[in-house]
Amino acid sequence: MPKSQFLGVFLNGEVTALVVDDHKVSQIIHHQLLNFFGIKNHVVGNRKEAIEIPYSGKKFDLILMDRDMPVLNGIEATKKLRDMGVRSTIAGVSSHSISEERQEFFEAGLDDCHEKPLTAAKLLSVVSKIKSKA
């Protein structure tokens, strides 16, 4: 499969992503999956780092947000990022989905949500929702 060429044509430019997940296994797999599609990505291990990103001036087209993290969970982090004016496409990723929690996650400002494992097909569906850069 032609990797980045496929997405390059589809997205008409470079796409960047931020992976927010405190579990090493998920970090490595999501990082590699994004690389596979030619999406430059950065990984942070906790929500606190994620909500500091806008202050650093870095912008990402896509944020993959793990829901199940201690301290500041994915729902709260998403709300915080939206309140800070972050307009990136945010896709939630969780290991266990209950409809009420999903609803709460979407209300926090998600654009998409998927249950682990994050497959190539799910990622393509997420990428199709990427809004054009501001």
Binding site: H23, K24, V25, S26, I28, I29, Q32, L33, F36, D66, D68, P70, S94, S95, H96, E115, K116, P117, L118, T119, A120
Partner: protein
């Protein structure tokens, strides 16, 4: 002779993989992992699996400790550990381990101590089986990789 060795080992790998799929131990997510491995990250699968083993053993130890508390088990903490184990197991395609985590989580939500203990024993058993089989798979892969780099002079009839 050498060609036969490499092919034999490849067939052995495929046979073991087919068995694990048939038993429901692994699912297609494992194949997705293999597809992510390339020249720039040739050991990707074994690296991820090694981290998975390391994390899972820590989680299993923590779950065992939580269940040994006679007075009151911290079910909330158990669920956090189980969510992590579910997430990482499904991410590497460890279907049976993930399914036991789901059952374990259900017992934990009901504060069912005996049910949780039974689930933990089953989880440890499934995890052990998975670990042994994946080690076997990696050993065959290593032998195959070794066999394919050794060169022999051409034979003449």
């Amino acid at each position: 002779m050498l060609g036969w060795g490499v092919e034999f080992l490849r067939a052995e790998m495929n046979r073991l993989l087919a068995l694990l799929f048939h038993q429901g131990v692994l699912d297609e997510q494992f194949l997705q992992l293999q597809q992510l491995q390339d020249e720039s990250s040739p050991n990707f699968v074994s690296e991820v699996i090694t981290i998975y083993f390391h994390e899972s053993e820590k989680l299993l130890r923590n779950l065992r400790l939580l269940l040994m508390e006679r007075e009151l088990s911290d079910y909330k903490k158990m669920e956090i550990h189980l969510n992590q184990m579910m997430g990482s197991s499904s991410s590497i395609g460890a279907k049976r381990v993930r399914n036991v985590c789901v059952a374990f989580r259900a017992a934990s939500e009901q504060n069912n101590h005996a049910g949780c203990l039974r689930a933990l024993e089953l989880l440890e058993h499934e995890y052990c089986y998975l670990k042994n089989k994946l080690h076997e798979l990696f050993q065959i892969e290593q032998q195959r990789a070794l066999a394919s780099v050794v060169r022999y002079p051409a034979r003449h009839n």
